[in-house]
Amino acid sequence: MIPLSLHYVVVAVAVAIGLIAEPVGALADQECSVPERFYTFEPPLEKTPKALAGGRRVVIVALGGASSAGRAAGGLERAWPARLGSVLSERFPSARTKVVNLAVARQTAREATERLEREVLALKPTLVIWETGTMEAVRGIDVDEFRGTVQAGIDKIRAAGAEVVLMNMQFSRATDAVIHFEPYLIALRELADTNDVPLFRRYGIMRHWAESGSLDLRAEDQDKRRQVAARLYDCIGQALADFVTRGDAAVKPTPGSETER
């Protein structure tokens, strides 16, 4: 009993004198876990988990914007694609996994599709993870045009024999107040649904993390912001590793799962 209460005292004193930073950077792993409802009805991938488990060569290409390029956390090596790569390498040591990050800040879906042929498909990817929609929402680009562009991109990637995962926008209170994401979130939901492509619902997942208090998206000083960004990308990388490898995980239906995007 005595050591335990002493422990409390030590912690309390440490917190009081600022030795222990707020728990943002030091979250327990389960705190960036993703509830089942964000995965339940997303169709699982087939080739990618098999190739990973079979110890084959797996090339994953990440397409997206600034939030995939990772500068907020300090650079490419801290972005979610790099985190995804290291988690997959740990879990599937026999597979030769390579995650190529082709994200470019402020890139629209149209610009991304223009790079598909030469830069993406030339790498013979097993899987393309396509993060998109932010620039379109910020600029107010025609939603139908956006949907058409992404549809054409999906068709092209699939025709080349690669699998696709779509990823939607980031969430924060500040961005949500001033940017009209809704139509673009719906468009991505429809694209995923009708093409039987899994959608990684980053927007809803980040909203969940913000709601449960596991990510302080309102951090104010620069260092802390960098920590939050690194933590966020790490969480997303881990969640994505679960997301792309869940092969035949039992499907437990929960109704009402899609109102959160």
Binding site: A72, G140, P183
Partner: protein, 395 residues
């Protein structure tokens, strides 16, 4: 307008217009709250069209009827001035909303400037050149979140005097021009109005497409003061409208159910219908579905059906009757509700509470406007100044 005349006017009033416009206003508010489960139960989950189409169609109808009558009795100038009085009120509301938007951006710009939101920060970038943003907002070229509906309504009302004059000259010519323009937009979606700051940004509601719905509504309303449209009562048309509405309901509601519970099969994929479902360009199915539903309703519910004068219908009626104010209020409440839901989250209970609170405020303000209007009528209309003049003509 004298109290007696006002009473006669309200006796003639088609309560269905008020009721369904009130319903549309509630739906627009609920649809605008983020992550709102209740939005799965509004018009948009039952038909291809949503509350926006219903609102624009009824607004067109009411405007065509009310201002058409003014045009006949008092001439083009009076009708034009009355319409522009409305346009001015909407414009002022738009500028007011823009102020709120600016305040939100100014308040959140620090959070947005977080490197985490490098791209999203683009939305706040206009603060670098606030003068330019201001001018573009005044010119309706700057339409950030929630500021996309009023510019459409302003644009449609602004051309109404010419449209009504055109109806007098040749209604058929006007309708042909209007539908041709709509059709051109369907065939080439690049026919659109650009927005600031661009590049490639377009009006979320393309006025070149949406004018067709408003104008068609205005024509029906205008025809109504000249004895109505005879072919609307053809029985085959009723069955056609019923069939189309039912088909729209079955397909759309199936998607809604699928959204709730993924394993429910979808016989008709939405992908097949995408080319006809554009909201920006008022796609064919949205256009047809709202017209079919309107015709069906006008057959099934009489203008003074008993339920329309029941207490349950009263909140809808008063909101629909004061639609201009309640419409603007609804947008403002959406913004507030958005902030509340993103600040406190709180799940379904909170979404429900915010939805109910917002609607209660809309009803309370509408009731206040009704009471004010009645007080003005009773005092002969002069005591409280100019707004009385337009009371009978709430388009």
């Amino acid at each position: 307008m004298t109290a007696a005349a006002s009473r006669t006017l309200s006796m003639e009033r088609d309560l269905r217009l008020d009721f369904f416009r009130g319903l549309a206003l509630f739906c627009i508010f609920i649809d605008h709250l983020p992550n709102n489960v209740l939005a799965e139960f509004t018009l948009q989950s039952l038909m291809f069209s949503d509350a926006a189409e219903v609102f624009i169609l009824i607004s067109g109808y009411a405007a065509g009827m009310v201002y058409g009558r003014v045009l006949e009795r008092q001439g083009f100038v009076v009708a034009g001035v009355r319409i522009y009085q409305r346009v001015w009120q909407l414009y002022v509301a738009h500028v007011f909303l823009f102020m709120i938007y600016m305040a939100m951006v100014a308040y959140t710009v620090d959070a947005l400037n977080n490197a985490l939101y490098a791209e999203e920060f683009g939305a706040a970038n206009f603060l670098d050149q606030p003068g330019l943003a201001l001018v573009n907002a005044l010119l309706l070229q700057f339409q950030p979140a929630f500021m996309d509906i009023l510019p459409l309504y302003i644009g449609l009302l602004a051309v109404l005097p010419l449209v009504l004059a055109g109806f007098r000259f040749s209604a058929l010519t006007m309708l042909i021009i209007s539908f041709t323009l709509w059709l051109m937009v369907q065939l080439d979606s690049r026919i659109a109005l650009p927005t600031y700051p661009g590049p490639d940004g377009v009006w979320y509601f393309n006025p070149l497409a949406w004018q067709a719905l408003f104008l068609f509504g205005a024509w029906l309303g205008w025809r109504n003061i000249h004895g109505g449209v005879s072919w609307l009562s053809y029985r085959w048309l009723f069955w056609l409208a019923a069939g189309l509405s039912l088909a729209g309901f079955l397909i759309r509601f199936n998607w809604t159910l699928h959204g709730f519970y993924d394993p429910i099969p979808v016989p008709i994929s939405s992908k097949l219908l995408w080319p006809f479902l554009s909201k920006t360009d008022l796609g064919l199915l949205r256009f047809v579905n709202v017209l079919a539903a309107a015709l069906l309703i006008s057959w099934l519910i009489r203008p003074r059906a008993r339920f329309l004068s029941s207490p349950a219908a009263w909140p809808f009626l008063i909101c629909g009757r004061n639609s201009l104010y309640i419409f603007c209020l609804g947008i403002l409440l959406s913004i507030v509700g958005h902030l509340v839901l993103n600040e406190f989250f709180g799940g379904i209970a909170m979404q429900f509470a915010v939805s109910v609170a917002g609607i209660a405020i809309m009803i309370a303000v509408a009731a206040l406007l009704e009471w004010l209007g009645a007080a003005q009528d009773a005092s002969g209309g002069s005591a409280l100044g100019a707004p009385t003049a337009s009371r009978g003509a709430r388009g």
